[in-house]
Symmetry: C2
Subunit: 174 residues, 2 copies
């Protein structure tokens, strides 16, 4: 154990774009905003409102959930089978109320925060085949999952504005 600690300290770079924890904290900040967006939707609109033939925001949130927790767990374990909250027959998340969706959201956050510290610095530069089909480096795989969340959340902002509801501030990550 002591040997491991010493080895890790030696391997820590003196300068770096990100520490793993900085990248995680940025993501968790975004997840707090996205959670507030889910909360801001009226229940019916969350599951039924859409613009231009797009999906309701609940479906986007389910996609984000299905990629986030399982994505981080997959990076650590190389096990890409779906986890809790996913319907094992269809691979799809089942949630029909806002409370259920928020519960699955919080479960995913717990999976992320539990598994993330197990991603070694070396791991970020290794190749993975995410979800059994998307080949890329670990850093770009994780970034894709975060960017996809920001992308769909931006769409949710338009839904809320169209519904006459003030969305949470983009810059407030607290």
């Amino acid at each position: 154990m002591e040997n491991n600690t010493i080895q890790q300290q030696t391997e820590q770079p003196a300068a770096y774009v990100y520490t793993p924890d900085q990248l995680l904290q940025n993501w968790l900040g975004h997840r707090r905003v996205t959670r507030r967006l889910i909360e801001a939707f009226p229940e019916d609109a969350l599951f039924n409102y859409s613009i231009g033939g797009m999906r309701p925001f609940a479906d986007m949130a389910k996609e984000i959930i299905s990629m986030s927790g399982p994505g981080v767990r997959g990076v650590v374990t190389d096990d890409w089978t779906p986890i809790a909250g996913l319907d094992h027959h269809t691979g799809k998340i089942t949630a029909t109320t806002k409370a259920e969706l928020l519960q699955l959201w919080d479960n995913a956050t717990e999976v992320i925060t539990n598994y993330w510290p197990q991603i070694s610095l070396q791991r970020f530069q290794e190749k993975v085949v995410a979800f059994g089909q998307y080949e890329g480096l670990v850093n770009s795989t994780l970034q894709y999952i975060v960017d996809n969340e920001i992308h769909h959340r931006g769409q949710g902002y338009v839904y809320l504005r169209a519904l006459g509801i003030e969305p949470p501030a983009f810059y407030d990550r607290s």
Copy 2:
């Protein structure tokens, strides 16, 4: 010169979340998608169409432009005054046609790619007061600029869908 090269090699970490160039390439991929989104808008809709009282997508693109090139240049030079394409009286970007907007977009991309290699690895962990008012580490400042682009571009996707236009694929960064 040879000494510098040796020193840089010594300072390079053996493992890292991102190399500076990986972070840049991820951003440039996003910028190609955003540029395709600008192109996909009919000229009139680009400057006038909106949903729920939000800004037309041209105004969002102008915001992205005003943060991107000047942001990277500011990180390198600590000079946060507006640059080419900004109206020096109002601090706002002036572009009234799609062609003008795309030209300013490309100018910003050039500023980013020219200045980015001058950001040292150490610099990413230093504090800055971006645009003279936003205090944060360089990495989170640059990430905010990229995330803000993804956020508003996601909104532009809804505008396009509402206009009956198929937006460019989010996952295609080529």
